[in-house]
């Protein structure tokens, strides 16, 4: 199990009902963690529409989680 802190913004924050939480996961990667949380909380955004950041830097979906990581899932931005 890996312990990570997850922060939520915008639509994910509203669907989760909180701004951050610390949790333990068996998911090896950030994409695995998103799918786990999506199933648990009913996030409407599919994983391929969400980017990820770890410790305040963008990371690829295949990024491997480490103990203590701060993870942020980033919904599509407003753009135009």
């Amino acid at each position: 199990m890996t312990r990570v802190n997850v922060q939520y913004f915008a639509i994910l924050r509203e669907q989760r009902g909180l701004t951050s939480e610390t949790l333990e996961t068996n998911a090896p990667t950030v994409s695995g963690l998103y799918e786990e949380l999506r199933a648990r909380h009913g996030f409407t955004l599919p994983g391929n529409r969400v980017r990820a950041a770890v410790n305040d830097a963008f990371v690829p979906q295949s990024h491997v989680l480490r103990e203590g990581d701060r993870v942020v899932f980033i919904p599509p931005v407003a753009g135009g």
Binding site: Q7, A10, F58
Partner: protein
């Protein structure tokens, strides 16, 4: 002071412009993004901006650095507001100086285009009906950090 900032306070345009004063510069081009009273045919009553501030600021600095490499600039400063804004309020300010105006126009446009496409900043429209919507979250749009080119 940082060249790119996220601000919960109203943006002080005069103070931003003063930071760009430069005797070698012949041109200042600025962009202001204002909260519009409509979008996609709907009446908008107000707009909420939410930022993932640490990453927005580091990505914003990266965009300004890219502009300095691409264009012959003097200075470049940008500020993005967060919070609940009323119609007509200033949401984002970009200012660029250069010896010659072509570089200032090109760089200012580059910065705002990249900022809109790449910064982890979201906006929620509040409509006259009382309904709200996170823009692009559930529909179309680029991902933060995606290339806009």
């Amino acid at each position: 002071m940082k060249s790119f900032a996220i601000s919960v306070e109203p943006i002080d345009v005069a103070a931003c412009a003063r930071r760009l004063a430069d005797d070698r510069a012949g041109a200042l081009v600025t962009f202001e993004g204002w909260v519009r009273n409509h979008n996609d045919g709907q009446q908008v009553g107000s707009l909420e901006y939410e930022a993932y501030a640490p990453l927005a600021e580091s990505e914003g600095e990266r965009i300004l650095a890219e502009a300095r490499v691409r264009f012959a600039l003097g200075g470049a400063v940008a500020v993005h507001r967060t919070g609940h804004l009323k119609i007509g309020e200033l949401a984002v300010w970009v200012g660029v100086t250069a010896e010659h105006r072509a570089a200032a126009f090109d760089a200012c446009r580059y910065i705002i285009d990249e900022a809109k496409a790449r910064l982890p900043i979201w906006k929620k429209e509040h409509y006259a009906s009382g309904a709200t919507a996170w823009i692009n979250c559930a529909t179309r749009g680029e991902h933060a950090g995606g290339s806009a080119t």
